[in-house]
């Protein structure tokens, strides 16, 4: 005969944990159930409403993080179509026209991430392509062919 474990023969509602313990545990469970039930109807209603609204297309859903932080989806899409995979890119963010510094930081990071497998480098001189975002391409330390990426964004193919 092998050991199976301590087995209590009485059901949970009537076991010998003591009356006070039963009451307190019952109270804890009642509070837990009340807390859990409080928001459930609203969540179900919200989910039902969500399922009845059409979802956005796949690309715009991929670009949600950039859009949330104010980065132009148009610039990202055009950059992905213009710059070949595997190219080295540098992102130069300026303030013309004026740009919130948080949006500027997000633009640099999000472009480097979303444009993979293009490799992001820190200086334009090391790049095959330079993306200027709210920055005039005339001020770049490199020269090349310019391609528009929508309002306030350009891509410059660096001439060597």
């Amino acid at each position: 005969v092998t050991y199976v474990g301590p087995v209590n023969l009485t059901p949970m509602g009537a076991i010998d944990g003591g009356a006070i313990t039963r009451v307190v545990v019952g109270g804890v469970v009642a509070v837990a159930l009340a807390l859990a039930s409080d928001r459930a109807p609203q969540r179900v209603a919200d989910a039902w409403r969500l399922m009845r609204t059409p979802a956005g297309d796949e690309v715009s859903r991929e670009l949600v993080p950039g859009a949330v932080h104010g980065v132009s989806s148009e610039a990202l899409l055009l950059a992905s179509q213009t710059i070949p995979a595997g190219a080295r890119i540098a992102v130069v963010v300026g303030d013309a026209p004026p740009l919130d510094p948080n949006v500027g930081a997000a633009a640099r990071s999000f472009m480097c991430d979303w444009l993979l497998p293009r490799r992001c480098v820190s200086t334009p001189a090391d790049a095959d392509w330079v993306i200027t975002y709210h920055a005039p391409s005339e001020g770049l330390p490199v020269h090349g062919t310019e391609v528009g990426l929508g309002p306030d964004a350009n891509a410059v193919r660096v001439s060597r």
Binding site: V7, L33, A55
Partner: protein, 482 residues
């Protein structure tokens, strides 16, 4: 689109198969509860595949489809191997449900299902995770790992993103899913996290259901699932909530091990702690705190503490290959935001004492903020307090873990190098979230243990001391194979 969905289904099927191998190997399957068992299997498979891939990545392997299948075969074989050497006991049924309270359990189960399924629907319809740390670091690293076929240190490589010292569990799993889907489809990651969240509840239910009546189990878990911060983060690609799941399952498994001494629980806890250490730097602290707390509790309970500590510590030690990889590539293998050696400078500590007050005040207010966690922390502490009367050892262990981990995280803020207001504002809410989740997951078991009659040492402990083999013990005896 078809390849994307087919790949996702294939990846999840691989994870489930690995988990089933572990569940079968550890004899944790319960045929009476196939849904919960499937949840436990998916959860276990996720962490087993994740740990295998994180270790493989640390040795320069690309988490491609072939590599994932290879890692899955190895991980599954490891799980099945326990069947040859582990305990022959399956899940035990200790307490029977009270029928007149069935409606309470059913109500809790309905709310739990509603909370998790609605979140999964949100995850399916939502866009890519827009949290700054996700797209600028975690997902970006996974994407770079996918495109460049390994942890690369060159331009655009994984190490060019923030915190290159962060361990590779999450990034390896993201890259693996991208390989299966045939592209970097970040919109599918929240759904996968939602599945992991549901499987977390399945895992807890599968582990404790035979010991915890439904009227306690489901309402308390539903309270956790419905807490606003928990609910919102169920689909988060940030690893904080996943780390909390891993610690919570390890804690529940160690409580069960303390009571039953089945090696299966120790093995599961060790695997969860390995995932914890390989998912975030803080995971090492949280996991080690759990091993220390339960090691001390086991010593007090005259349990084989040396075995517990020796085996469970293998979990946090799983980080060693990753540290070796960092050193080999000339990267710092310690956190950049703080350094534990700063604790050796009393002058600096005294000068930074004001950081302690600021951080502790904010951490406590976040913990007990009912807009974030409703009353989950209070309920969890009430469960610990109740269990102190009838199940002192696990209650003390959980309480000790909570105190150690809170103080450990507070110490990080104390010795941190970032400006304290910024540091707390950008991380405290996520960091303290582990406590409510662990307390909430352990609460049902602790409440049930607080009901158990006072009794002498269980059979294994008695056997260790007396060497007397009882003929039967309990109601559900069965014949030995011999």
């Amino acid at each position: 689109m078809t390849r994307e969905y087919a790949g996702l289904v294939a990846f999840d099927a691989v994870v489930l198969c690995v988990g089933l191998a572990w569940v079968a190997g550890l004899r944790l399957a319960d045929a009476r509860r196939p849904v919960a068992t499937a949840g436990l299997a998916f959860f276990t498979g996720w962490i087993a595949v994740g740990v295998a891939l994180a270790l493989a990545v640390s040795f320069g392997v690309d988490p491609s489809v072939t590599a994932v299948l290879g890692a899955a075969v190895l991980a599954g074989a490891c799980g099945l191997a326990f069947r040859l050497h582990g305990s022959r006991d399956g899940p035990r049924r200790v307490l029977r449900d009270e029928r007149r309270l069935a409606v309470v359990g059913a109500a809790g189960a309905v709310v739990l299902v509603a909370a998790t399924v609605t979140q999964l629907l949100w995850a399916w319809r939502s866009g890519a995770d827009s949290s700054w740390d996700v797209w600028s670091m975690w997902e970006a690293k996974g994407r770079a790992l996918y495109f460049f076929h390994g942890y690369e240190t060159g331009p655009g490589g994984v190490t060019t993103y923030a915190h290159p010292d962060y361990p590779p569990f999450v990034t390896a799993l993201i890259a693996a899913q991208y390989h299966f889907m045939g592209g970097p489809h970040a919109t599918r990651l929240p759904f996968q996290q939602g599945l992991l969240s549901i499987s977390f509840f399945g895992a807890v239910v599968a582990l404790v259901r035979s010991r915890v009546p439904a009227w306690i189990l489901y309402p308390t878990l539903a309270a956790l699932a419905a807490a606003p911060r928990f609910w919102e983060r169920m689909q988060s690609v940030l690893p904080d909530q996943a780390v909390a799941y891993f610690v919570a399952v390890a804690a529940v498994a160690l409580i069960l091990w303390l009571d039953e001494r089945r090696g299966s629980f120790l093995a599961l806890a060790t695997l969860a702690l390995a995932a914890c250490a390989l998912a975030k730097n803080e995971g090492v602290l949280l996991g080690t705190a759990l091993v220390v707390a339960f090691g001390v509790a086991a010593a007090a309970a005259r349990a084989p503490r040396a075995r517990l500590v020796a085996i469970a510590l293998l979990g946090p030690l799983a980080i060693v290959p990753w540290k070796w990889w960092l050193s080999r590539h000339g990267l710092s293998h310690v956190a950049t935001d703080y350094a534990w050696r700063d604790l050796l400078h009393p002058g600096d500590l005294a000068r930074n004492a004001d950081r302690l007050g600021y951080a502790s005040g904010h951490m406590l207010s976040l913990l007990f903020d009912t807009h974030l966690w409703t009353w989950v922390v209070v309920l969890g502490l009430a469960a610990v307090a109740l269990a102190l009367f009838r199940a002192r050892t696990p209650a003390v262990a959980i309480l000790a873990w909570a105190v150690i981990s809170f103080l450990g995280q507070l110490t990080v803020y104390w010795i941190g190098r970032l400006e304290i207001q910024y540091y707390v504002a950008t991380s405290a809410e996520r960091v303290v979230g582990t406590l409510p989740i662990v307390l909430g997951a352990a609460a049902p078991l602790l409440l049930a243990l607080s009901f158990q009659p006072r009794r002498g040492p269980t059979r294994p402990a008695a056997m260790e001391r007396t060497g007397i083999e009882p003929v039967t013990y309990g109601l559900q005896s069965r014949r030995s194979p011999s």
